[in-house]
């Protein structure tokens, strides 16, 4: 076998990569929704704080955010609890990538909610819907349609950003490719394999996103 069983290792790493990406996306969507609602809230200080945090995270390199959370959190937590606390690389990766995803997603969500005509929520109020019902039954399904293309792009960015978690020692696809590359002295081969797997996952994601975009717009007749 030309790849000496490293292919299996890389595929195992691929699962880790996908797991990190999925967890970060779920966490990021929650962060994004919270961010979007904080940014549209009446209280000025809360609004400015949320906007400030989003601005900072969007402006920093992904690597810096990841390292800050992985190495910085260990120090802060250790100081609080007065003994050494080890932060898991997986958790740090998910939190860092999720925060980055969330800070971009909050803008997508804000735009999506603003795209709904105010008449829709007013109609809901007139029909005697509660605030929660208006949100889940009227706003969310309509905002979803506007948010899908933006979220789809963010998902593709996120997938590619997961490559950096290898730098904090997580055994993801890049890490396995690195091990294979240094053992066999064939870095080009193995990094190319990793690249092709990323290419496959992103292309597949693109197909799924297109499907959902068409599906979310199925009631819209132009």
């Amino acid at each position: 076998m030309i790849f000496d069983g490293f292919l299996l290792q890389i595929l195992m790493g691929t699962l880790v990569t996908i797991k990190v990406a999925l967890c970060a996306a779920v966490f990021g969507i929650v962060v994004g929704l919270i961010g979007a609602s904080l940014e549209s809230i009446q209280n000025r200080w809360l609004r400015y704080t949320a906007a400030g945090i989003i601005f900072i995270i969007r402006g920093l390199p992904e690597l810096l955010v990841l390292f800050f959370i992985y190495f910085g959190a260990a120090i802060i937590l250790s100081k609080i609890f007065h003994h050494y606390i080890d932060v898991s690389a997986f958790a740090a990766g998910v939190i860092a990538l999720g925060l980055i995803f969330g800070s971009y997603a909050s803008q997508v969500f804000r735009g999506a909610f603003l795209a709904i005509e105010p008449g829709q929520t007013e109609a809901g109020k007139a029909m005697g819907f509660t605030q929660f019902q208006i949100f889940t039954r009227i706003q969310l399904p309509q905002a979803w349609r506007h948010a899908i293309p933006g979220l789809g792009n963010l998902w593709l960015v996120l997938l590619k950003d997961t490559a950096i978690v290898t730098l904090i020692g997580l055994a993801d696809m890049m890490n396995q490719a690195k091990i294979a590359a240094s053992t066999t002295h064939q870095p080009f081969t193995f990094y190319l394999i990793a690249a092709c797997i990323y290419l496959f996952i992103t292309s597949l994601s693109q197909k799924v996103i297109n499907f959902f975009t068409i599906r979310a717009n199925r009631y819209i007749h132009t």
Binding site: G59, I164, A195, Y198
Partner: protein, 227 residues
């Protein structure tokens, strides 16, 4: 409490490498992108296909993989190591610039193509009507117009390149991120140095945003809404 001023020279040298990486990649990337955009409108089917393939590959893979492929990957081939190209490809700086500019060129190509598509059709029709040749119309009317439309998206791309330069620290380059890591391993002042690096990156962001705001103002068509 230590004095952070002592580390200013190291941080400044890191900053200069980050800036060098960014400016070189933005410049090369933009030139490549313009070339690729022109080629993507070529009459030759094979040229269009090649451009699409390159853009598809680069946009579908992480920047880190591209940097590793160029820096570590090229050494695998004996004929590259023995060729005169090895002079360039063994330098981490050159590899980082190559990877970043290729990456940026592909994203910018998409941005420019989007700009060209949003040039009003009647303006292109007007070029044909007064008998401009295809290339002249592209050079004088379509491209400047498309570039103006693409500036806001392009400013985001430049910020993405700035953030991407931090990955150069993974191939032993001592850019701002690399210097920060080095200083942390010397002083154990983890949080402090990450915050300093973060502030510098944010300031660079602000400068880029300011430059592009000025560019948008400068390039706006005066006396007429650009719609």
């Amino acid at each position: 409490m230590m004095n952070f001023m002592d580390y200013l020279p190291q941080l400044a040298s890191g900053l200069s490498i980050t800036l060098l990486l960014m400016i070189a990649s933005v410049g090369t990337g933009l030139l490549l992108a313009i070339l690729m955009t022109i080629c993507s409108y070529s009459d030759k089917w094979i040229v269009r296909k090649c451009i699409n393939l390159i853009v598809f590959f680069i946009r579908g893979t992480p920047l880190l993989v591209q940097i590793f492929l160029i820096y570590y990957g090229m050494g695998q081939f004996e004929w590259i190591r023995s060729s005169s190209l090895w002079f360039i490809l063994r330098e981490p700086m050159a590899c980082a610039i190559i990877a970043l500019s290729l990456n940026s060129a592909c994203y910018t190509t998409i941005i420019l193509q989007g700009g060209i598509q949003s040039v009003p059709k009647n303006e292109i029709a007007a070029c044909h009507a007064i008998g401009m040749p295809k290339w002249l119309a592209f050079r004088r009317i379509i491209f400047p117009r498309a570039f103006r439309l693409a500036i806001p998206a392009y400013s985001n791309e430049v910020i993405i390149i700035l953030k991407g330069t931090s990955l150069a620290s993974t191939i032993t380059l001592l850019d701002l991120m690399g210097v920060t890591q080095q200083l942390i391993s010397q002083t154990y002042a983890t949080i402090e140095f990450y915050i300093i690096a973060g502030i510098i990156y944010l300031l660079l962001n602000a400068v880029i945003t300011g430059v592009f705001m000025a560019l948008i103002k400068w390039s706006a068509i005066t006396g007429k809404a650009s719609q």
